[in-house]
Point group: C2
Chain length 152, copies 2
């Protein structure tokens, strides 16, 4: 398997994983500190999906950090296949959750022309924005992983 | 470039393109025949995104049919790169649009516990379901195209 920036055990991969983790944690924190998120199925789904993202990204970040410190190359085809499947599943769930929440946020902000919960509305928006940023970084990881698997 | 089921100019690719087209047309028809879809940004976005899907999939379906009839192989790397980018853009937009509309549909059906528009609610649900089916077939096409490009 070829070695290029973003493959497991490189600094780029570690940076991508850490940014996924940070954005997902920020999204959960922003959403979970509102008082009424549990009234909306989409917002609960966003928290669940970002929770999965946190678990997945932190695990792979530790693996990348270990490989970087020990100067090991993790290019086992079976491991990479597992990373590809995990990345695609979490990326799809993140995009779906972020979009579902964005749909509701836009409905309350623009379509109904009011957001009666005051400061909570900014928190919903912030949570959705962070979820999208988390999705962008997991999407880059997924594409690089699939490319690595296909090119091997 | 290798030839496997789903690559441009094969019967599998044509079937995938036709199913994307049919599901997207069904989704638009189901949504556009409701009286109040224009009150919801997400539903308008669903129609726009499915419209793009219809244009893209019908174009590639004609290309596949032409290649099948003339027994030509369309494996030009530049063309395939173009297909990959187009497929990924439409697939991402379709998933985002379907999820945003699904978020609002679930909000009205489950969270608020009522759907006052009667028959229209079934049409919204049907439209979202068809959009997801269109996304599944474009996602398969995208993965096959990226694999073809990376494996070449």
């Amino acid at each position: 398997m070829k070695e290029f920036p973003g493959t497991p055990g490189t600094l780029t991969a570690l940076v991508l994983r850490v940014s996924q983790f940070v954005f997902a944690v920020g999204s959960i924190a922003s959403m979970a500190t509102t008082d009424s998120f549990f009234n909306f199925t989409a917002f609960c789904y966003l928290i669940a999906s970002m929770g999965l993202q946190v678990i997945w990204s932190s695990g792979l970040a530790f693996l990348d950090a270990y490989a970087l410190l020990r100067k090991k190359v993790i290019h086992n085809p079976i491991l990479v296949s597992l990373f590809v499947v995990g990345d695609w599943v979490t990326a799809t769930l993140s995009l779906a959750a972020a979009s579902a929440s964005a749909g509701i946020t836009v409905l309350y902000f623009s379509d109904l022309g009011r957001c009666s919960s005051g400061e909570e509305c900014q928190q919903y928006q912030m949570s959705v924005a962070l979820a999208y940023m988390s999705w962008v970084s997991i999407a880059i990881s997924s594409l690089l992983m699939l490319w690595l698997l296909a090119a091997s």
